[in-house]
């Protein structure tokens, strides 16, 4: 073994000497053989010929000895590389087109793969991420799945389970940070004290929460994120132990988390973490029934515990809870891997995009194969000569594959650059809600992917010319002088490639078309309100300063009155959660007079406290009854407006006006309210979801400590925003006004994910279409150039140019129709996989399925037009001269 390597290296490094030795050895051999023959009486020349006949030529022997050792592999590789580089340099246009096609294909794949890698493949950035699970409470019979957990369930789970090493709950909202500059809202993660230990996260400075911090009555403490610490506190190393003001209340900083730590689900840069017991909002739910299912719960499974064991334990706990709280009957506890919870929603769209770029690369490879094939045909003479001179077919195949690998790797190299650049261009387009967004980058794994992809692509498109060269017959090639028509084999291969390209393009375009149609449907949905000229802003009152509902409603009245007094303001109002912007507060309600529902079953609707002019600002129509007015105050009878959907579902063929509903937001208590009117439906969750039942109550009767301000104004957005800010701070200079945005922008932002995937898929579809056009052009123009002679004869015999044109077009048509016939069924089958992503469009959408083949036919006709014109202009004399 060692000797083998040493001797091989010697032949590589001291090539001359080894050659000389071999020469000498063989020379002696020849001399001896000749001498012997001459002793038998032959002349020297006869002896030489006889030896050569008997023992083989010395040159062949040398070649055989040289290529027998392992080192010859590298030698040949080096030769092939040099030869291939020379060939590629000789045809810069060919090399350029191929490299560009591959670079685009590989680049797009690498860019999308780096997103998939970061979001789907890379494990969550916590220690032993495989042990982390999301624990959710759901109510399958009511169709509620994957909701948050109530606090009593959480404590039961935390204290009584034997399967988790740690359990923690979290929820998010915003608190107002004052002091150290402008008042601002900071993203606040409200956690139970186990939070950081479940994720096994260590602080950058100070410490994280310990159980004592989570108890009621403990000193209020806070952990800061690194970015907040740097931006707001100048990275003060002595921050631990200092006090900061959140919602006008002091919290002692106990630690700083590094920027590399990310809160699951609630990933924001400027963030604080506070114990649940210290939260002005959620802490009320720590004891008080009814149980709000608000808390996201994560847990770490003990090593060696199977998910079946966990499930069994959770069922046990669920049964115990059902006995303890009969009202909670029907709720069940389940788990899923945290990774799945975090990436669940984006998995399908991302895989769809990856598949789409994969198709683009495949189409690109078909194109390159086609180009290589035309070149292989014009190089067939070179190859025939080499075969005739004694090159083995394997040797030639190897040479051709080396050329392809160089093309592939060159494409891959530029493709990686394209990917880096494309990723930078993609970043601002990426939906910001994309989980693990921050970890998207081109890393070693992605580079490896690009390399493998380049090699796989080279092999794929390289196989075609290699197979065609393997079938080449030097006799025929050289005998024919490489002139007349090409044999049927390569032509069939080329047609097959073009058909495949067309079919793949149909699949891709159909997908893109369906998403575009679906997106058009989504954006043409009437939201039920008129967003134009409406600007929204968030104003929240520090809980500890404005602690009573009376203060909240007084503040809101003051704010609205002052806003109305501003010049240029048409209308302004205050509302709880705005539709689509903040989604919803869902409450259970009872219809007074109806028999009580079974325990554990509830009718629910989305609840919004609004000030009187809300419906006029938002353009929501009144259908029956009356809207709210100034006389609906905290001292007047409790009233409610319902949406049409609620009226239709719960009061079919009845007059709901005058009936009473009982419900209430926890802070205000459950009261019975009279229905005074019915208003139009709105899409409150998202444009893609049907309007649900809504309950509107007067803000004065159910004030919130923070709410959205909506202002309708013909002024510019910035002027309106400025007015809102100055009015608010005119009342209290410590109040932050945040999230100011024109309502139309907010609606646009709500469809950013579908827009993103539609845009990308549309882009890929367009690239595919261009590649397919190039492919068809290649096949047809090649066929025309090969048939120049035949066309010349036909014309001499009297064929009109129109006939020639129709011949060419027929060829294109057959090609394209075959592609369509193959592609459409594939497209339909593929489209069914993305049904989930479609909105009001079926995978069998007739418009898309008709338009896409038509578009391809048009493109094919266009692509064959240039070669067809050339064919019509064939001059019979020129065409026949060279025969």
């Amino acid at each position: 073994m060692l000797q083998n390597i040493a001797s091989g290296l010697r032949s590589l490094l001291r090539k001359r000497q080894v050659e000389r030795e071999l020469d000498e050895e063989l020379g002696v051999y020849l001399e001896m053989a000749i001498e012997e023959k001459m002793q038998q009486g032959m002349t020297r020349n006869d002896a030489l010929r006889a030896v050569r006949l008997e023992r083989g030529s010395l040159e062949v022997t040398k070649e055989a000895v040289r290529s027998a050792g392992w080192e010859s592999f590298w030698e040949i590789l080096w030769q092939d590389l040099r030869f291939a580089t020379r060939m590629l340099r000789k045809y810069p246009a060919f090399t350029g087109v191929v490299t560009l096609t591959l670079a685009l294909g590989i680049g797009a794949n690498t860019a999308i793969f780096s997103v998939v890698n970061a979001v789907l493949l890379r494990p969550l950035p916590y220690a032993n991420p495989g042990q982390l699970v999301f624990v959710r409470e759901g109510k399958p019979e009511a169709g509620i799945t994957g909701l948050g957990m109530s606090y009593p369930t959480f404590t039961e789970l935390r204290d009584e389970n034997r399967v988790f090493s740690a359990v923690a709950g979290l929820g998010g909202h915003a608190l107002v940070l004052t002091g150290n500059g402008e008042p601002s809202e900071v993203s606040t993660v409200v956690v139970t004290s186990e939070f950081f230990s479940v994720l096994a996260a260590e602080p950058l400075l100070g410490r994280v929460f310990i159980p004592k911090d989570g108890q009621r009555g403990a000193a209020p403490v806070v952990v800061l994120s690194e970015s907040l610490w740097r931006e707001r506190f100048g990275g003060d190393p002595g921050i631990v132990g200092r006090s900061i003001t959140l919602d006008m209340r002091p919290y002692t900083v106990i630690g700083v988390m590094s920027a590399s730590f990310h809160t699951p689900f609630l990933n924001q840069t400027n963030q604080v973490w506070i114990p649940l017991a210290q939260d002005p909002l959620f802490s009320v739910w720590m004891t008080r029934p009814p149980h709000e299912h608000w808390m996201a719960v994560i847990a770490r499974v003990r090593p060696g515990i199977s998910s079946a064991q966990v499930q069994a334990e959770l069922e046990l706990i669920g049964a115990r809870l059902a006995r303890e709280f009969p009202a909670e009957k029907g709720w069940t506890i389940g788990i899923e891997p945290l990774q799945q919870t975090v990436t669940g929603e984006v998995k399908l769209p991302l895989l769809l995009l990856l598949a789409a770029v994969g198709l683009v690369l495949l189409i690109g490879c078909a194109n390159v194969a086609n180009l290589l094939l035309s070149r292989a045909t014009s190089r067939s003479k070179e190859i025939a000569i080499r075969i005739a001179l004694g090159a083995g077919r394997r040797r030639i195949a190897r040479q051709l594959l080396t050329e392809c690998a160089i093309l592939g790797l060159l494409g891959g190299l530029i493709g990686t650059l394209v990917a880096c650049w494309g990723l930078a261009a993609l970043f601002p387009l990426l939906p910001s809600g994309l989980p693990k967004f921050h970890s998207i980058r081109v890393d070693r794994f992605v580079l490896l992917f690009a390399l493998m992809l380049s090699l796989a692509a080279s092999l794929l498109f390289g196989l075609v010319p290699v197979l065609s060269a393997a079938g080449s017959d030097p006799h025929q090639e050289l005998g024919q002088g490489g002139r007349a028509g090409e044999s049927a084999g390569p032509r069939r291969t080329r047609a097959f490639l073009a058909v495949g390209e067309i079919a793949l393009t149909i699949v891709l375009l159909t997908g893109a078309g369906l998403l575009m149609r679906s997106f058009a449907q989504l954006t043409s949905v009437n939201p039920g309100f008129a967003p134009n000229h409406v600007v929204k802003a968030m104003v929240s009152l520090p809980q500890f300063q404005y602690s009573t509902p009376k203060q909240w409603s007084a503040f809101s009245e003051d704010l609205i009155t002052r806003l109305q007094a501003q010049p240029g303001m048409q209308d302004s109002a205050i509302a709880g959660p705005l539709p689509i912007v903040d989604c919803c507060i869902t409450l259970a309600f009872q219809i007074v007079g109806n028999p009580p529902l079974q325990a554990g079953v509830a009718d629910t609707a989305n609840y919004v406290p609004v000030s009187t002019r809300y419906f006029s600002v938002m353009g929501i129509p009144l259908l029956r009854g009356r809207l709210f007015n100034e006389s609906d105050s905290s001292s007047s009878p409790a009233v409610v407006l319902i949406s049409e959907a609620l009226a239709k579902r719960y009061f079919p063929n009845q007059n709901p006006l005058g009936r009473h509903l009982t419900f209430g937001f926890p802070a205000n208590g459950i009261v019975s309210r009279e229905i005074v009117g019915i208003v139009g439906d709105i899409h409150d969750v998202s444009l893609g979801k049907e309007p649900g039942p809504m309950l509107y109550v007067p803000f004065a009767q159910a004030p919130l400590y923070g709410a959205e301000v909506v202002v309708k104004s013909m002024l510019s957005t910035s002027a309106t925003a400025g007015a809102i800010r100055s009015v608010t701070q005119g009342i209290d200079k410590n109040l932050p006004v945040t999230d100011i945005a024109p309502l139309p922008d907010v609606l646009n932002a709500s469809v950013v994910q579908p827009r993103f995937r539609t845009l990308l898929l549309g882009l890929f579809g367009a690239i595919a279409l261009i590649l397919a056009a190039v492919g068809i052009f290649g096949v047809i123009s090649y066929s025309v150039s090969r048939r120049t002679h035949e066309l010349g004869i036909r014309m001499v015999l009297g064929a009109q140019p129109v006939l020639v044109l129709s011949m060419i077009l027929r060829e294109t048509l057959v090609l394209t129709l075959t592609g369509i016939a193959v592609g459409v069924p594939c497209a339909v089958a593929t489209a069914r996989l993305i049904t989930h992503l479609l909105f009001k469009v079926t995978p069998y959408d007739p418009v898309t399925l008709a338009l896409v083949p038509f578009a391809l036919l048009a493109v094919a006709a266009l692509a064959s037009y240039i070669p067809a014109r050339r064919a019509m202009k064939v001059d019979p004399i020129v065409a026949l001269r060279y025969e």
């Binding site: 000797q3 083998n4 001797s7 091989g8 030795e21 071999l22 000498e24 050895e25 063989l26 002696v28 051999y29 001399e31 001896m32 053989a33 012997e36 008997e54 023992r55 083989g56 010395l58 062949v60 022997t61 055989a64 000895v65 027998a68 050792g69």
Partner: protein
């Protein structure tokens, strides 16, 4: 059969070369002549196969080579068996005998 040299049975050339060198160190031409003589003209080895085999055996450490003067005072590369080559020859010969005996039994059985 005897008048026309035939191809060697696949894979036996290495063994035959080892056997030839077992008697004494020899140069390339000597090996091929000896092979022909010993087989009484049945086998003729062409130069390509011979030198490839010699290179292979040398790299496997079964033979070693040395430039020496011939009886006609020419310089030639002489090959000789190594210790490893000797034991390989033994094991291959035994294996060959076993196989030939088996094949003969099969052929004679019918």
């Amino acid at each position: 059969m005897a008048d026309k040299p035939s191809e060697l049975v696949q894979g036996t050339l290495d063994m035959l070369i080892l056997k030839t060198l077992d008697l004494q160190p020899m140069h390339g031409y000597g090996i091929s002549v000896r092979l022909e003589q010993m087989s009484q003209g049945v086998f003729r080895v062409n130069a390509g196969s011979l030198f490839v085999a010699l290179q292979r055996l040398q790299r496997a450490g079964l033979i070693k080579s040395e430039w020496k003067a011939t009886e006609n005072s020419r310089r030639a590369k002489y090959y000789a068996l190594t210790e490893q080559g000797g034991s390989r020859l033994n094991s291959e010969t035994q294996e060959w005998d076993r196989q030939v005996a088996a094949i003969s039994r099969i052929l004679e059985a019918s």
